[in-house]
Every structure is written in C-alpha cells, then in structure tokens.
C-alpha cells in the first residue's frame, strides 16, 4: 500500500526512482489534453475555461465539491456534453466528441458511478455489450471467442470472476470491476472514473486502487474523480481541484497536502459554507424502537427531538433509505414501534404519514419528487390540496397567493410560477419540494440527499432553510453521502450499516474519517438487494 507521499528512500513501487518516472512522463506528450473548455447550463457556468492534461501512466485525480463541475468535465470527455468553447486533444490531435460512442471509439473509456451493466446478462456478455464478436458475416454471435476474450481480460486484471455468471448475482464491488474490465477490453488509452469508490467499503476500495495502479503502470492515462481527499492522496500522482467550474489548482500529489487541497475546494470561508444553527428543543418528537421491515431493516431504535437534525451516515445500500421509507409508510414495518409526539403510530401509506406531519424529500428529485407537467404552484400544493378547498372546489387564487409567498420566502426563481418546474435549476426545484412540505405543515422532514445536484449557492440556501425549519421546531432526518455536509449540518449522527444503526454520536465527536471507517468496515455490499428510490 503506497502512502500519499513518496516513500523515504524516494523510490516508487516498480523500483523506478521518482526522477526517472517524472522525466519519462514529461517526455511523453499527454495522451489527452483539455484546453480552456467552458460549458454553461441555464443559471450556472458549469465549466469556465478549464484545462487539464492526462499523461500516460499517470493517475490524475480531480477533486471538488458537488456542483463544482467535475461531472460536467467527465461528460465533456465522454461525449455526453459538448463544451461551448475550448478543445479536447487526443494524442495531440484536436477531436470532436459528439456522442459517447465516438468517445469510446477514440479510446476514452468512462466509468460512471452509476454502473452501466445489464443485470440480467452474463459477465462476458456485459464486457462485450454492443460489440459482440461474430461469425457468419456478422450475423451470429461467436460465443467461444467472447468467452475466451473475457477470460483473458479478467485474468490480465487479476479479477477472479466466472465470465458465465449473471451480473445481478455479483456484489457492487465486483460489478465495478466488471465495468473496468469492459472499459479495458475496448483498448482505451484514457480511463475516466467518476467516483468509483462511492459505493465501496475500505477493503474493496483498496482492491480497486491496486487495479488502477496496475493499469497506470501499463501506460494508461487515468482521470480519477472523487470528493474523498484521503483516498485521493493515497492513489493520485497529480491532483487538480475544481471550484465553481474553474480550475482552482493543480499539482503533483507529493507536493500538496490535504489542508491546501481542502482550502482550494471550499474556498476561504469554510464556516460560512455550513451555516449551522443548533435549535434542538428538549421535546422528543419521534421515537422509534426496534423497527424492522421486509426490506431488511433490523431492530432500529432512535429518537429525534423537535428542532433537531439527526444525520444518517452510511454507505449506499446500508439501509438509510429503507429506514426513511418505513417511517414514511412506503414500506410496511414488520416489527417495532414508532411514536410521534408520544402517540403510537403505524403508517400503511404515505398519505397517512403526511396526515400526521411526516414528509419525505426523496433522493431522486426528478423521478420521485417533481411533477414536470405542473408549474411551481401546483407542485407546492399537491400534498395538501385540502387547504385550498372552498366548498368542494380548489381556490386557485389562494393557491397562487400561497405559492408566491413561498417563492419569495425561499427565494425560488419566479420562472417557476408561470412555467413548468422543468425549467428551474436543481436548487430551485429542491426548494419547490421543500415548499410543498412546508405547505403540508410537516413536523418531521426526512431529507434524502437534499443537496445532490444542487449548486453551491443554492446548497447554502438549503442549509439556511434547514436552520429556519429547525428554529420553528421542525425535526429533520438528514440522509447524506456528502460527509462534510452531514457532519456540519447534523446535531447528532446515526451510523447506519447493514440495515442497522451501529451507534449514535453527537456530530462534533465524529470526524469524516471515523464516520467513513465505521460505516464501511461493517459494510457488506451486495448482501440483499439495495432498495433505494
């Protein structure tokens, strides 16, 4: 295991001296070069004249906060987005990457954090998906060649997985390895990995990092995206930092330290970034005891105070979302008790939960939260139409007045009053959903990844809204994979793993590393099906 910094004797694994390796890298012109690319989306300059060079044999880490432009850069390289300005050079030649297929053909393989495997197909079929070897002038799949080549690719990578196994039966980490095998088998020179370890535990992360180093030694240029600083220092040769769509800094990993990189990521005022107020009142709002569900939640007990933010920290698939779903009446509990304001409750549907003042802001805003066929006002009032009734009819005038009020209070772009919410930015959309639950008089708000895909300015506004809500006694269950955010915005944090709560800590007694370590050590991905929506 290599340390972040160069070993004492200056040597690197593989026996080459630092100087030699650097000279070799300097000599070779970069395989892939990004020059001054810019890309804007409505309301946000996602990339602003960013330049990067990816060298053969080098692991180049790109760090930055959510919304800093990392994903946009990845998508520009993989042909999903077309930058408005600047150029991308592959082996010195300016190329245009109009779509992902061309990017792959040009040798840029991208591994997204959401895997692109087909669960019902075998490992071999997935590796060769879309370019099956064929016989009989391309009409019949050559299964033998496919299998042989798969075995070869997997062996080269030291992955011990049977190519005939169906992907569905593999763990998250194994699937990630298959994804890499797929990318490698296409003979790509550039490998872009977007948060490859987001769903992995520490042991699997190490295995993946070994593999990435091996690929680098074979001469591939690797762009490694992550927001986990410790991890980046373990693996990267070079680190570039994106902030608000601009390149905030770039340098050799051994010449940088964690503090300087974090400062570049967050900018000057870190405290301003998380304007946390502590509003916990001495009044228990929610008590959960021994809660179990069919989705695998086992014997979960915790309580939340009025005005408190209780954070749920854990890996994807650890059970955070399942606990939330059970509280909200989506999944039926099989055991245990839930008390709200001292009253025992048992919600069979979200309708009942909402009636009792529980609300859920789902992780996947577009799939589970927004009505794109509605404008802002209809989106806000939908969960509490009873409040608009004038006799049996909806008072549309009152709906508009209430909505304008919320638009003003939460500083939502007024575009959303007259037009579909699909024209709003992620942050504004999230605020519309928050307004929906304010309008429904929620007392317990479950926020599942509330700042995912929300740009920095709007994120701070979401934090401020959290403060305002807790100030009036609303309790919040905060589920977030953004650990700095979770640590800063929660009053207490429950560490969730394997569908259980391991322990609950006051948030000031927990560090990011400790949280990650606890959450991942007991984490066995692939056990049971993850059930997130």
């Amino acid at each position: 295991m290599r340390t972040p910094l160069v070993a004492k004797d200056g040597s690197r694994p593989g026996g080459l001296s630092v100087e030699w390796v650097d000279r070799m890298k300097a000599d070779a012109s970069p395989i892939c070069e990004v020059r001054d690319i810019s890309k804007a989306f409505p309301g946000v300059q996602a990339l602003d004249r960013v330049s990067l060079a990816l060298n053969a044999g080098e692991i180049h880490a790109l760090v930055g906060e959510n919304g800093s432009g990392k994903s946009t850069l990845v998508k520009s390289l993989s042909g999903v987005h077309r930058p408005e300005a600047g150029e991308i050079r592959l082996r010195g030649e300016v190329v245009s990457l109009p779509n992902p297929i061309v990017a792959r053909q040009r040798g840029v393989a991208t591994i997204y954090q959401e895997l692109s495997l087909v669960p019902s197909l075998s490992v071999a079929e997935n590796i060769f998906l879309g370019r099956f070897p064929t016989v009989a002038s391309g009409q019949i799949i050559d299964w033998q060649t496919m299998r042989r080549e798969s075995v070869k690719t997997l062996r080269e990578l030291g992955i011990e997985i049977d190519p005939d196994v169906v992907v569905r039966s593999l763990s998250m980490a194994e699937q990630q390895l298959i994804e890499i095998a797929k990318a490698i088998s296409e003979d790509s020179g550039v490998l872009v990995m977007d948060e490859p370890t987001a769903a992995l535990g520490l042991a699997e992360t190490r295995r993946l990092q070994d593999l990435i180093r091996q690929l680098a030694r074979q001469g591939k240029a690797i762009l490694y995206i992550s927001h986990r600083i410790d991890e980046v220092f373990q693996i990267a040769d070079r680190i570039s930092v994106l902030k608000d769509g601009r390149l905030a800094g770039s340098g050799l990993a051994r010449e940088l330290n964690v503090d300087s990189v974090v400062r570049q990521m967050l900018g000057a005022d870190v405290t301003e970034h998380y304007p946390k107020q502590r509003n916990t009142k001495n009044e228990v709002l929610l008590e959960v005891e021994g809660l179990s569900t069919q989705t695998g939640v086992r014997d979960v007990s915790f309580s939340v105070y009025a005005g408190e933010v209780l954070g749920f920290g854990g890996m994807v698939g650890s059970g955070r979302t399942e606990i939330a779903r059970a509280l909200f009446g989506v999944d039926r509990p099989t055991g245990g008790s839930i008390r709200l304001n001292g009253q025992p409750v048992r919600f069979r549907t979200p309708t009942e939960a909402i009636r009792h003042g529980v609300a859920l802001v789902p992780e996947n805003r577009k799939a589970d939260g927004l009505f794109m066929n509605f404008r802002g006002p209809e989106n806000i009032t939908i969960a509490n139409l009873a409040a608009l009734l004038y006799g049996p009819f909806l008072d549309l005038g009152r709906e508009m007045r209430f909505s304008q009020d919320y638009f003003k209070k939460l500083a939502i772009s007024s575009t959303g009053i007259e037009k579909s919410v699909q024209f709003l930015s992620g942050g504004n959309q999230q605020k519309v959903i928050l307004a929906r639950w304010l309008f429904s008089q929620a007392r317990l708000l479950i926020l599942d990844e509330p700042t995912q895909g929300v740009d920095i300015g709007a994120r701070i506004e979401v934090y401020r809204i959290i403060n305002e809500l807790t100030a009036i006694g609303i309790a919040i269950l905060l589920i977030s994979s953004d650990y700095p955010e979770l640590l800063a915005m929660s009053d207490r944090i429950a560490v969730v793993s394997n569908k259980r709560i391991l322990q609950i800590f006051p948030s000031d007694q927990l560090s990011e590393y400790r949280l990650l370590d606890m959450a991942s050590r007991a984490h066995h991905p692939g056990e049971g099906r993850t059930h997130e929506t």
Partner: protein
C-alpha cells in the same frame, strides 16, 4: 394547469382549432356538399357522440392509462337499453338511469382491475373490449333490436332554442369535465398521477382510487354515448360502436393529450373529435371506401402523436429516459450538471 406546449400557441386549444380550420377548408374545397346545412347538422350530430365518449378517454389518458372498451360498452348498453324499453316496457327516463348505473359499473370493472388489480389498463380494457361485446350478443339472440320506442328519438333529434339537443349535451359534459379537472382535488390528482406516479404516491395521493375514478367517469361518458346512439337510431345492436374507442382516443390525441399521461386539455379533445368527424365526413362525401377511411383514421392518430413528440420539449423526453435509467441504478450520485 399545463405548461404551454408550443411558443406559437398561447391558448392551449389554439393548435387544434387551427387544425380544425385547415381540415374544414380542405374538405370544403374537395366537395361542394360539405357546407350544406343538412350536412353540417349531420356532422355535428355525429361528432356529439364521439366528443362525449372522448371526455372519458381523455381522463384515462391523462392518468397515463388507456381505455379501449367504450365502443364495446356502447354496444352492450344499447342492447340493455333497447331490451329494457321494448321487452320490459320500461319508461325511457328509467331506462336511462339504469343504463347510466350499468355504465358506471362497467367503468368500475375496468378501473378496479387496472388500479387495485395492478393489470395494465391496456390489457384490462382489451379484455373488456371483447367481453362487453360478447355479452351484447347474448341479448335478443344476438340480433339487433329495432323500433324501440317512438318516445326515444326526441332525446336526440329534439331542439332547444332552435339548436339540436346533442350540442347541449356536449357543452354540458365538457363544461363539467373542465370544471372537474381544473377546480377539484381529484381533477388535479388525475394530472398528477399521469405526470409522475411515483411522486404522486409520495405526495400522499391515493393513486389507485384516482385511477378508479377516471375509469368510472370513462364508463359514464360511454353510457351517455350509448343512450344517444340508441335514441339516434331508435335501436340497439351488438354491432354498434365498432371503432368508437379509436375515434375517442384519436380525438384526445389530435387534441394534444400525451399518451404518456399528465398533459392534455379537455376542451381540445372536443375539437379533436370535430376534426376526426369532419375528416370522415369529407371522405364520405368524396365517396372514399370505408377501408380507406379506416386507414386514414389510423394514420391521423400516428401523425398526431408524431406532431406531439415534435412539439414537445425535448426536456420531457430526456427526463423520462433519465427516470427510467435512474430508477434502475441508484447510487450516491454526485451531480449531473443537467440539474444545476
């Protein structure tokens, strides 16, 4: 209620009105008989039944479902009505009440199976399309019932203030449907479950109940259609209503309703019904064979869907694809700048 579909049409029903005008001009050019008062009257009477059935079809389409059964339901209900009056000696108003109750029951069957029963509405109503017509043939040994009652025809051919009664039926039905969709919680929820069923459920909407109500209303409008049909022809027949479901769905789609659900204006469906009937009338007047009329109707529906897709903001299509994709693979996602 719904966002504007096209920058050209500030009024949601402007597109269909323009289409109706264009189609009418084309038919007028093709034949000098279109504008004759008798013919226009005939067109209006014909369109009235399609337009009323289209109310139910539109509601179901708004929820993201489809109802293929109203044509068969009409056949069965005309047989029930004709039997009640002619063989059981029932008065016309009583028979109307019973037919309306039966139509609600039939709509509820569709609705229950496709909501609480969790069978896709396409399958459910494809089955009841066959079942309802099959049951219709059980009446009167499968023969039509003619000359039902002399007191029946005024219900269809009667006039009020010199205007044909069916026109009032249409206006009243659409007025109620418009108010229902715009000003009642259930109407709002119909749009919501069609727009995003998952979000609707998580917003506390009883999705099954809402869908059931849409189907019950669809049954009811088919019932009204069947009463008009019986009165118009003074007969009941198991062969009535063939293709009515297609005309009604066509009316909704030509009016701009999205088959994916959530988008559509009820008044536009009325104009859609007029467009479809005017086209058929034009083909009739030009002595085009029935086979070609059927082909044309199918082609119009495909064309309307194409136009809808072409007009529709690509964001919606992308959004739908994204949802499908993201629904399958959920990971801790950092962002996706499309969102920001």
């Amino acid at each position: 209620m719904r966002p504007r579909r096209s920058p050209l049409s500030r009024i949601p029903v402007m597109g269909p009105i323009i289409s109706l005008f264009v189609v009418s001009v084309a038919v007028t050019i093709s034949t000098d008989r279109f504008l004759l008062l008798d013919n226009l009257n005939n067109v209006a009477l014909q369109a009235s039944i399609v337009a009323i059935v289209a109310v139910g079809s539109t509601l179901v389409i708004l929820t993201g479902g489809i109802d293929l059964s109203p044509g068969s339901a009409i056949a069965l209900l005309t047989m029930i009505m004709a039997s009640l009056i002619k063989f059981e000696g029932m008065s016309v108003p009583s028979a109307i009440v019973i037919v309306l109750i039966m139509s609600v029951v039939m709509g509820a069957i569709n609705g229950f199976l496709s909501s609480y029963g969790r069978i896709p509405s396409f399958i459910v109503t494809l089955a009841t399309l066959s079942i309802f017509r099959g049951v219709a043939f059980l009446f009167n040994a499968g023969s039509p019932i003619f000359s039902v009652s002399t007191s029946l025809e005024p219900w269809f051919y009667g006039q009020l203030f010199g205007i044909a009664l069916p026109l009032f039926y249409v206006l009243i039905t659409y007025g109620l449907a418009w108010g229902f969709l715009k000003y009642t919680p259930i109407g709002r929820r119909i749009y919501a479950i069609g727009g995003n069923e998952s979000a609707a459920r998580l917003s506390g909407i009883n999705v099954h109940q809402t869908r059931l109500i849409a189907f019950i209303i669809a049954g009811l409008t088919a019932g009204i259609g069947s009463i008009l049909m019986t009165a118009r022809l003074n007969s009941g027949s198991p062969n009535y209503g063939v293709g009515t479901e297609l005309q009604a769905i066509g009316a909704a789609v030509v009016g701009g309703a999205s088959l994916a659900g959530g988008y559509g204006h009820i008044v536009a469906s009325m104009i859609g019904a007029a467009i479809i009937v005017v086209v058929q009338n034009g083909l009739n007047l030009n002595a085009v064979q029935t086979s070609w009329q059927n082909i044309t109707l199918g082609a119009i529906i495909v064309l309307a869907v194409f136009m809808d897709m072409w007009r529709a903001d690509f964001g919606r299509l992308i959004g739908r694809a994204w949802r499908r994709w993201a629904g399958r693979r959920v990971a801790v996602s950092e962002q996706d700048a499309d969102d920001t």
